[in-house]
Amino acid sequence: MSQEHQNTQIGAAGSIALETENKLGGNKKTLLVRVGDYTVENPLTVIGTVIFLAIVILSAFAPFFATHDPLEQNILSRLEDRSAEHLLGTDMFGRDTWSRILYGLQLSLIIGLLSTALALVFGTALGILAGYRGGWTDIIIMRVMDMLLAFPTLITGLLIVAVLGANFVNIVLAITVTIIPMFARVARAPTIALKEREFVESCRAMGYSDLRIMIFHITPNVIGEVMVLASLWAAYAIRIEAYLSFIGLGVAPPTPTLGTMIREGFEFILDAPYVSIYPGLAVLIVVLALNLIGDGLRDSIDPKLRD
């Protein structure tokens, strides 16, 4: 067989692969359009997005929106209720609650989004690897994921942070580990279906390596579903961070974290309930915003997924 002939054959296979992928690309576009349409039809998603963006802006420019230094103590004005001077009152050291919430949100968002992103990368990779390779690789990876899921997430997180020490890196690590299995599960299922499709077969026929197929051909088709669920798990991650710092395993004081503020305020629940309620509401609002976004997006991808 001449070299030229071989090339045309590969060319033909390549163009089939390209065509199939373009078709899939087309599907992805309609998916985006569907997401867009749905968003217009579903005001809840829009509300969630607006709230979330507002929180991101407020916390990203915390020094600008804060009315006080979050660490500045003033023993003369402790446990005050709302006033023009202190928008959301003060805590037991006279620190300004509004300013502390802004900085606390900043930390919550950074930890929550960072650990979700890390879990997304590693979890999706593991899920695709398990689904694509099948056999023992699949059994081992998914068994380990099942084992991790046997521990309640909060308890896994609590344990990792307690054992390794409560600091920023370990908290991110702990939350990442607890949500990796969920991403792995979501990425694995569609991979199993995708690997039987013609475009993957033609990639294989062209001699693409498994790694290349997984990264450039499977991942783009799985990532949509994974991203949608990422917003729901970001909400989860932010809540776990708040729980950990509530238990006393957060980023060390005096850095304001929402969970720590709630725990400290809880001691004064009889005299000044607002000290713990405002940071609690801040956690609620950011988690709710992410859930609203995720819930709507999930509906638009598959209305049957709404459970």
């Binding site: 809840l44 068994r143 380990v144 099942d146 084992m147 991790l148 899921l149 046997a150 521990f151 309640p152 997430t153 909060l154 308890i155 609590l158 344990l159 990792i160 307690a162 054992v163 390794l164 020490g165 909400a235 809540r239 708040a242 729980y243 509530f246 238990i247 006393g248 709630i262 809880f266 629940i269 009889l270 309930p273 713990s276 309620i277 609690g280 509401l281 956690v283 609620l284 988690v287 709710l288 859930n291 609203l292 819930d295 049957k304 709404r306 459970d307």
Partner: protein, 312 residues
């Protein structure tokens, strides 16, 4: 059915084994010397050596691992590093409190959640359905401690119906009365999940042919919903309740802290603070085994309700 139960139970064995390994590894990667952590910096070299010897910390890691597994196989979780008490005793002392809390929360979650879910399904896309959807999303987003704090403020301080601190002992009546507020605050989380699952599962079932047939044959609406539809719709609800058992156990840590109730969660936090690694190890084994067991039971119940389920 027998084969299904056997097969499914057998498949839990490697998971349990893996869980034990994970617990063992996690506890061992803790930085710092447990002997120093427990006896303090001023402890004499002899005391430290004796402690390490007694706890088997001098043995090679593989021998420690095998010891750990044999111990578990013999049904023991070892002794506490701090009090010297058998870990199993301390666990069983507080386990009933957490179990009654989780169980009461499940009852509350199902009692409130299932009817609301049916209501939402029957009024699909109407204002009741939409309101319930927003409320359940709100419920999903509520941090466990905020629910607890607000309930205390409202039902224990504002309107002093219930005690602020939940005293877990006493006669049955008093015990249930004390349990109500913590269980309600934990159960509310589950309500949101149950409403959503009941709704979607009822909608699925209501669109099936046999329901149309029953309707065509003139089955009255109420009977149709409760007798024909709900029975099949229950399957996913059982699964969700089983799945969220772990979530409830995890969140009970927070509920127990806020309501100052004894339980597994409080014991976990206490042994973390005391660096009591043997107790911690035992607690984790118990928690993970419970979750695996509940998942197993859920699958078995699933097989009982739906004879089509086969073990693969």
């Amino acid at each position: 059915m027998g084969a299904y139960i056997f097969g499914r139970s057998l498949s839990a064995v490697p998971t349990l084994f893996g869980v034990l390994t994970i617990v063992f590894v996690l506890i061992r990667i803790a930085p710092g010397d447990p002997a120093l952590a427990i006896l303090g910096d001023n402890a004499s070299q002899e005391a430290l050596d004796a402690f390490r010897e007694r706890m088997g910390l001098n043995e090679p890691i593989l021998a420690q691992y095998l010891d750990f597994l044999t111990q578990i196989a013999r049904g023991s979780l070892g002794d506490s590093m701090v009090s010297g008490k058998p870990v199993l005793d301390s666990v069983f002392e507080v386990l009933p409190y957490t179990l009654e809390l989780a169980f009461a929360a499940i009852v509350i979650g199902v009692i409130i959640g299932v009817p609301l879910g049916i209501w939402a399904a029957l009024t699909r896309d109407g204002w009741v359905d939409n309101t319930l959807r927003v409320i359940s999303l709100l419920g999903l987003s509520f941090p466990a401690f905020l629910t607890a704090i607000l309930l205390i403020l409202w039902l224990a301080i504002e309107v002093p119906l219930f005690p602020v601190i939940s005293n877990p002992d006493g006669a049955l009546g008093a015990r249930l009365y004390n349990l109500f507020l913590p269980a309600f605050s934990l159960g509310l989380i589950l309500v949101a999940y149950v409403v959503r699952t009941t709704r979607s599962s009822m909608l699925d079932v209501l669109s099936e042919d046999y329901i149309r047939t029953a309707r065509a044959k003139g089955a009255p609406g109420r009977r149709l919903i409760y007798h024909h539809a709900l029975r099949n719709a229950l399957i996913p609800i059982v699964t969700v309740v089983g799945l969220y058992f772990g979530l409830l156990i995890g969140n009970s840590v927070l509920t127990e802290i806020v309501f100052n109730r004894p339980g597994l969660g409080k014991l976990i936090v206490l042994s973390l603070n005391q660096r009591d690694y043997t107790t911690l190890q035992g607690l984790l084994v118990v928690v993970a085994f419970m979750v695996v067991l509940v998942n197993l039971l859920t699958d078995l119940v699933y097989g009982l309700i739906d004879p089509r389920v086969k073990f693969k």
